[in-house]
């Protein structure tokens, strides 16, 4: 029986890329997003669900469907995220709350529900998404960087709480990757950010996939509570 992976924010960007990558690796992949994928994978091992990741009841139903349909869950990729790139004084509170809800609270909600399924098999892998914006303390991204800072702390603490169940919890912190998330960021801001990396180039989808692969490897069962920032940040 193939391992089962759940990927949030699977309709596009990094999430959509990881769907393809995990399908290639033989996983049964369950993806979720608010909107249907623009380019759905052609595989009978792929199942897509339309879910708002901040809706607790909808998320619980998704996990119930996975439990009943696949018998359990092996991997959670907590990829769904939104950005808010405004000066703090120009950031509406509703937007700030939404960023925290999607980036931090939903990451917690999915990890909580995933751990309930994973603990039965005494193994599991949870991969969260951090960002270099947190350690770089990027101006203009206060609430985004703070929400992801919360994800870092969540990763550290959940790693300890879930370790007795054989579940590892790690995070990858990408540099800017050419996806919709950063499309509205001015080029000079991106250039300034790249200047602060040890390796001064944009990240690629494959760079992120490589870190995810490492966390998912069977041999990585002694690796938990780690946050790996790309680009030498």
């Amino acid at each position: 029986m193939a391992d089962v992976a759940l990927i949030t924010g699977a309709s596009r960007g990094i999430g959509r890329y990881l769907v393809g990558r995990l399908l290639d690796d033989g996983y049964i992949v369950v993806g979720c997003s608010r909107k249907p994928p623009e380019d759905p994978p052609e595989s009978d091992r792929y199942h897509h669900h339309l879910v708002d990741v901040t809706d607790e009841m909808a998320v619980r139903k998704l996990f119930s469907t996975i439990r009943r349909g696949h018998g359990g869950l092996d991997v959670l990729i907590n990829n769904a995220g939104i950005a808010a790139m405004n000066h703090a004084m120009l950031t509406p509170l509703a937007q700030a709350r939404r960023v925290v809800d999607v980036n931090l609270i939903a990451t917690f909600l999915f990890a909580r529900e995933a751990a309930k399924l994973m603990k039965k098999r005494r193994r599991g892998r949870i991969v969260n998404f951090a960002t270099v914006a947190t350690p770089l303390k990027l101006e203009g991204e206060a609430i985004y960087a703070a929400s992801k800072g919360g994800v870092v702390t969540l990763t550290h603490v959940l790693a300890r709480e879930f370790a007795p169940f054989g579940i590892t919890v790690n995070a990858v912190g990408p540099t800017p990757v050419d996806t919709d998330l950063i499309r509205s960021v001015p080029a000079d801001k991106i250039d300034a950010l790249l200047e602060r990396q040890a390796i001064r180039r944009m990240g690629t989808l494959a760079d992120v996939g490589n870190v995810v692969d490492f966390y998912l490897r069977a041999e990585s069962d002694f690796v938990t509570g780690q946050v790996l920032y790309l680009g030498g940040v």
Binding site: K61, K116, K120, P164
Partner: protein
């Protein structure tokens, strides 16, 4: 009104699963103490049992409940003290969920 016998049956099914997976023997009787004073479970044991009970209620009664909700966690007297208090609390949640 929730069917109390159906709830007890689901809780006992979860106790069976818990006993098998955790190797901690729990008696299937209403006055079996669970958590707190003279409780048979440590905090991880409670986590495991609660998750098993939520699944059993969903499977046997087709109702999705969250046992560790804000009310349960803030009550002075925890609903997780014994199987009986757990069953009582589940009955309230099932009623509220329209089950």
């Amino acid at each position: 009104m929730a069917d109390r016998n159906q709830i007890i049956s689901a809780v006992y099914a979860a106790v069976d699963e818990f006993t098998e997976s955790e190797g901690v023997a729990l008696d299937k009787r209403l006055d079996q103490r669970l958590f707190g004073k003279e409780g048979a479970l440590d905090s991880l044991g409670v986590v495991n049992l609660i998750v098993a009970v939520e699944e059993a209620i969903e499977d046997e009664m087709d109702v999705m409940i969250t046992l560790a909700d804000e009310r349960a966690m803030s009550q002075k007297r925890s609903p997780f003290r014994s199987i009986e208090t757990l069953v009582d609390y589940i009955a309230v949640l099932v009623d509220e969920a329209g089950g």
